[in-house]
Amino acid sequence: MQMISNILAMTGHEPYIWAAYATATAILMGLLIIFRRQLHNAYTKISMLEAKSQQRQHDRADGEGGIT
């Protein structure tokens, strides 16, 4: 317990040390969250586009069938 409180106090330099660790954690975790969200959005977009494209092909095939 004493060791943990000594580490947390960091002999007077605690704001600088914890600010360094907080900055690194925030940036690295932020990157992970942003990249995961972008991947999820990209998957959603591509599946919508593919569904739309398939729908259009079906519509065209139905249209051609109707004319003949």
Partner: protein
Amino acid sequence: MIKQYANPARFNRLAGTLLPWLAWPAGLLILTGLYFGLFNSPPDYQQGNTVRIMYVHVPSAWMALFIYTFMAISSAVGLIWKHPLAHLSAQAAAPIGACFTFICLVTGSLWGKTMWGTWWVWDARLTSVLILFFLYLGFIALHSAFDNPTRGERSAAILGIVGIINLPIIKFSVDWWNTLHQPASVLKMSGPTIHASMLTPLLIMGFGFTLYFFSLLLLRMRTLMISRRARAINVAQSHRLGAE
């Protein structure tokens, strides 16, 4: 052999298999490094506990240099052999490299304030790392500056290759010029001059950051690949609509 992974479906499968094998060990290594660095390493006899900033500052600096080297090699492979994944991996690596460089600058500044009494000095090491950060930003900006993505890729690749001249300047700046920054104590020809109790967490953090970088790289490459496919479908659809 590498060319077969230019196929998006195959690359996606490989990336999906590799990701957990990279991400979980990365997390474990970083947590272990943090435990050793914060609780199991001694304070420095001159700097006291402030030396603990080193466990994020130094690995971030290594990553900033490593990722730029990776980016420049990928750019060269893309330009010379025109491998489809090369430009993509360089593009994916750039923001990660910029973030590691930014962490290096911020943590260095915090360390400098406690040790030198100032946030910033225009000395050779600090200035050359700031230039590296701008090179990353320039690479990212050039990629998206052109309507034609191929032109953007080529221009960014040239900047990436030319910018590699900055890496030896960063590495040897502390030997070539008088600087406030301390000289190398780990990556030295004569071996590290740092005690094992501090070197161990430093190396563990370095490995952890490297695995974390490759995890982020795979995530980003997958996103870029899917976005390219989406763009291609969009273009094909608009051409088809135009023809109709």
